[in-house]
Amino acid sequence: MSEPGEVGLRADGLSVSFDARRALVDVSFEVPRATFAGVLGPNGAGKTTLLRALLGALPHAGSKWIGGRPAYVPQAGAVDNAFPIDALGVVLMGRYPRLGWRRRPGRADRHRALEILDAVGLAGEARSPFGTLSSGQRQRTLVGRALAQEGDVLLLDEPLTGVDTPSQEVILGVLDGERRRGRTLLMTTHDLGQAARVCDLLLVLNETLVAVGPPEEVFRPEVLGRAYGHELLLLGGYTALVDDAAHHSAP
């Protein structure tokens, strides 16, 4: 096991059940600090549950440890797109935990939020209503809100699903910058190719942890077959296509 200072995130025997249904069973892993880790798995594998258990937002058995302050990006569908708020207001929400009760965001918070909007390519949309932004712009705004939290560990739930390619590139560029600054990232995704391209470490999940390791170790037919079962199609022994039903795509 690594030294505590080198670890960004750790789970030890993490299990979650909803009523009688098991969602996550005895999951143990460690993500080194300043690592971009991806969580793969079919629909219903427990990816979102894992993130929420790590954040302590769900009752769970076992233990988890986060190396510092967490920041979170929920799935696009979790957010109310019709809410009367502009992009700047959404990013400012990331400052709330720092402010505590009663205090409102001040000038310094606004300045920081505008810098972040610039970093995610939305400087000109600060006053645009959130609901009128494109799905890619909305997702960039939510990533911006996570940056405003200034967390040490970023947990992102399918930040690239249903997002146009330019927005994906902006988001991945920003996340890579965060990793270079020493932050630890854990991102769920359905896109195996993209995960292999951008992640240093992959966790393959299907209720239990099927595999964990760098992409070249994880992307083997027997490993993916154990996680995805009949959803996996192998072509020539090299290419894996997964039936991604895009069940989480933004409305």
Binding site: R52, Y72, P74
Partner: protein
């Protein structure tokens, strides 16, 4: 008459501001339900000689708890729970009042309000509730907004979401109890939701919408009382009709002035 104006301004401001949370949390049907079921609490309080406001507040809390309990069963939605509770508890209140006898005229007061007959104690209660709403929004307003916009993130950031829900429902209950005296059970939902819907048409972001809704609620109360004075119609219906007119004017104004802008075709739907 001065007491009636004070009651209308306090009640309209609190209802308008708090109603914005009811609107964005999609609790409109629950607000309507609480507005009706409090009649049972008020009737029970009348029969047992207790303060009507206390009985109504108790039933408001019970309604919220029962709604949560029924909706906790995955086979039923919160709307279903409300659809069951509203008619049964409201019906029980009306039936009980008929059985008890001796309260002639009180049913009309409960249904349509009696703002022209408010006492100093009623105005003080409205002031207290108004201050409670302002204090709660000053203390936890941004957290309530976060829960409304993105509940999973509020949970993930460690906020006690259930506590914030209870705070909001408690404030709604208190506001409905005050509104019951002003415009009555049948019309209080209009005061709770009309100004926020009109403000949503006029405003792009939440806090200006809240301030606008509070001002529209207070203004509608004052104008409604003047309408009552000159037209000799019931104060409750007059106030709610003014609220409805404000909404229509806002909608028409926005449609003609803001075509193609936010609030026009591109605006998200109002729930």
């Amino acid at each position: 008459m001065r007491r009636a104006f004070a009651e209308a301004i306090l009640c309209g401001t609190a209802s308008g501001a708090l109603g914005c949370f009811v609107l964005v949390r999609r609790l409109a049907f629950l607000g309507e339900s609480v507005a009706h079921t409090v009649v049972l609490g008020a009737v029970l309080a009348l029969i047992f000689g207790l303060p009507v406001g206390a009985g109504a507040a108790l039933l408001a809390v019970i309604t919220a708890l029962l709604t949560a309990a029924i909706a906790g069963d995955r086979r039923f939605s919160p709307d279903t729970a409300t659809g069951i509770l509203l008619p049964s508890l409201f019906g029980a209140g009306v039936a009980l009042l008929a059985l008890a006898g001796g309260y002639r005229g009180r049913l009309e007061d409960l249904l349509f309000g009696s703002i022209l007959g408010v006492s100093d104690a009623d105005v003080l209660l409205a002031l207290g509730v108004g201050l409670a709403v302002v204090a709660a929004l000053a203390l936890a307003g941004k957290e309530l907004v976060l829960v409304a916009f993105d509940r999973p993130t509020a949970q993930a950031l460690g906020y006690r979401v259930a506590l914030l829900d209870a705070l909001l429902l408690g404030l709604v209950a208190l506001t409905v109890v005050v509104g019951l005296r002003a415009v009555g059970s049948l019309l209080v939902a209009g005061l709770l939701l009309g100004p926020p819907v009109a403000a949503r048409v006029l405003c792009r972001t939440f806090w200006p919408m809240t301030a606008t809704a509070g001002a529209l609620g207070a203004g509608s109360g004052v104008v409604g009382l003047y309408v009552t004075w000159y037209l000799d119609i019931g104060a409750g219906p007059a106030i709610v009709l003014v609220v409805a007119s404000v909404f229509l004017l806002a909608l028409l104004g926005r449609t003609f002035a803001g075509r193609g802008q936010e609030g026009g075709r591109n605006a998200p739907a109002i729930r």
